[in-house]
Amino acid sequence: MNMLSEGRPTKQEENLTMPTQDAITTHTGNRALMVDEPLIFETGSPDRSGVDLPDAPEVESRLGGLDRKAPIGVPGLSEAEMVRHYTRLSRQNYAIDVGLFPLGSCTMKHNPRLNEKMARLKGFADIHPMQPMESVQGALELIHELAEWLKLLTGMPAVAMSPKAGAHGELCGILAIRSALEARGDAREVILVPESAHGTNPATAAFAGYKVEDIPANSNGRVDLEALKARLGPDVAGVMITNPNTCGLFEPDMKAISDAVHAAGGLVYCDGANFNAIVGKVRPGDLGVDAMHINLHKTFSTPHGGGGPGSGPVVFSEALAPFAPLPIVEKMDNGHFHLIEEETAEEHHSSSFGRMVAFHGQMGMFTRALTYMLSHGADGLKQVSEDAVLNANYILRSLDDILEAPFGKSGPCMHEALFSDKGFTNGLGTLDLAKGMIDEGYHPMTMYFPLVVHGAMLVEPTETESKAAIDQFVGAFRSVAERAKAGDELLKSAPHFAPRHRLDETQAARKPALVWTEPEDFAEAAE
C-alpha cells in the first residue's frame, strides 16, 4: 500500500540543486511570506467595497452649493483585503515581541501580560471620568495607591498624577518651579541645562518662557560642577538634570549640585526618564531634587512607542508641593476617596498652578503600573534595576575590546552602554553599523546621540533579556563592528535582507513626499 503518499513525496529527493537565493525570481516579486506590499491606494479599486450602504434618499440639499464635486478618493477594498493589507505591513515591523530591542526602556521595555489583564477589568476600563465619585471609589483608590508608591520610591512628599508623558511632566515640573518663584516675588529668567541632559529639557524650559543656557560636560561625561556653580546667580530659576544621564552614567555630584542651586535661590528639576536604573536604590528626594517626572511607560512597563499612551506623573518636594496641579486624589477620614478639583481646591490646595489635562490622567496606565509594582514587590523592583544595570554592563564589557567606550574607564555604566565609531575604516560610520544590525535581525540601537560622543551608539538591553539573548545580540554586534573596522564595502549598502534596502534619508528629509499623488494612468478612485 502506498496510498497516502502517492504523487506526494514525503521526503526530500537527494542531490537537488540549490541555487543561490538571488538567482530565483518569483512571478509576484514576493519571497514567500516577505510580501512587497503596495500602498493601500494602489491596491484599491472602485468596484470593491467592504460595506454595503443603502442608496441615499433624495433630499433637498441645504449645503448652499458647497456639495463635494470631485470623488472622495477613498480606496475601494473588501474587508478581507483591508485586514490583509495592514496585517502584512505589521509583519514587517520590528517589535519587542519579536526580538531584543536595544533602544531599551527609552522606547519600549517588555510589558508583562498580567498588566494587560488587570487594565481590562471592567471597574477600571469601563468607567467615565465624569461618573459620580461614589461610583468609582475603586479607581480612585488605585490612583491613590499608585501615588503612594511613587512617593515612597522617590522619597518625595507629593505627586501630580495627571501629566500624560515625559515632556508633559517636564512642563508640569517647570511650571511648578515658575509658580513657586513668582509666589515669593522672585521671578527669574534662566534655566541651566547640562549637555548630558535629554533633548526635551531645553525645549521644555524654552516652552515655559525661560532662557536656556548650556552647562558643559566634563571628560567623564558628567555635569561640570564647577562650571555650574560659576554660572549660578540671582537670575537662575533652576537646573534641569537627567540622572542617570544620557551617557548612561550616574551623576555622583547630584547632591552637591542641588545644594549649590538651592543656596543660589534656584530649584532643581530632575528628568526621571532613566529612573529604571535606580528604582529601589536611590531616592531622588534624598538628592535634593524638587521635581521629577516618572515615565510609567518606561520604568513601570506600561506600553509605549505606538503601543499605548504615555503617562508621566511628577513628584514634588515640600517647596513645590503646594503648587502641584489639580486634580489630586485624597483619602478622607472615613476611608473614602475624593478627587480635589477646582470646586474644593480653595480650602485644600489654594496655590495650585492650575491643570495639565481635562481629567485625571491615563487610568489604563495607572492600572498597569500598579500591577507591575505589586507583582514585583519591593524586592522585585530593586532587582529590576540591578538586572537592568548588570545587563548593560555585560554589554559594555563584552564589546569594549572592539569598540571604543568613551566613558568605560570611569567605571560601570547604569542602564545603557555607550560606544563611539572610532576605528571604523573606509568611510564607514555608525549608520552603516546600524544598517548591518538590521540584516542580523535586530532593531538598531540609539545612534548619534548623545552629541558629546562621536558617532554615538547607545545600547540599552533592559532587565528582561536573558544572558543567552544578550550573548546572541553581542555576537551580532561584534561581527558587524569587525566588518566596520575592516572597511567591508558591503556594509555601505546594507540592509540587504530587509523589505527595503538602504533608503535615501537625505532626499527623504530634503524633499519629503508627504501626500500620495495619483499617477496619471491610475484608475478612477471610488466615489
Binding site: L431, Y448, F449, L451, E505, T506, A509, R510
Partner: protein, 123 residues
C-alpha cells in the same frame, strides 16, 4: 578681504564693515548631508555668542553661533530650497548670512586659516 575662523567651526569673511558668515568644510563633513538651514531674519541684532542659525543634517540639529556682533543685512535665501549647498560649497556658495560689524575688535579673538587648520588637525 580677510577670513577668520572660530573654534565652533564657523568662518567669517570680512570686507570693510561687512562680514559674511558660514560653517566650515570640516563642519559640513562632520554633520553629514545637510537637510535644513534656518537663517536669522534680516534686521536681527546679534551679540557675539548668540544663537544665530540652525543647521540640521541627517544626524543632528546644531546651533550656529554668532562669531561676531552686528546687524544681519542679508541672508542666503538659496539655502531654503537647496540646503545641500552647504555640503557642496560650505565656504563659498553655502554662506549663511551677512552682517554689519558692530565691534571689529572681536575679530582679534578669532583664528586665521592657518591657526584653524592646526586646530582641526588636533581634533
Amino acid at each position: 578681504m580677510s577670513r577668520y575662523f572660530t573654534d565652533e567651526h564657523e568662518w567669517v569673511e570680512v570686507e570693510g564693515d561687512t562680514a559674511t558668515v558660514g560653517i566650515t568644510d570640516y563642519a559640513q563633513e562632520q554633520l553629514g548631508d545637510i537637510v535644513f538651514v534656518e537663517v536669522p531674519e534680516v534686521g536681527t541684532e546679534l551679540e557675539q555668542g548668540d544663537d544665530a542659525a540652525v543647521v540640521e543634517s541627517v544626524k543632528a540639529a546644531s546651533d550656529v553661533y554668532a562669531a561676531v556682533s552686528g546687524e544681519v543685512i542679508e541672508v542666503n535665501e538659496a539655502l531654503e530650497d537647496e540646503p545641500g549647498l552647504v555640503n557642496s560649497s560650505a565656504e563659498e556658495d553655502g554662506w549663511f548670512f551677512r552682517l554689519t560689524l558692530s565691534d571689529k575688535e572681536e575679530l582679534e579673538e578669532l583664528m586665521d586659516e592657518k591657526a584653524y587648520k592646526a586646530f582641526v588637525d588636533g581634533l
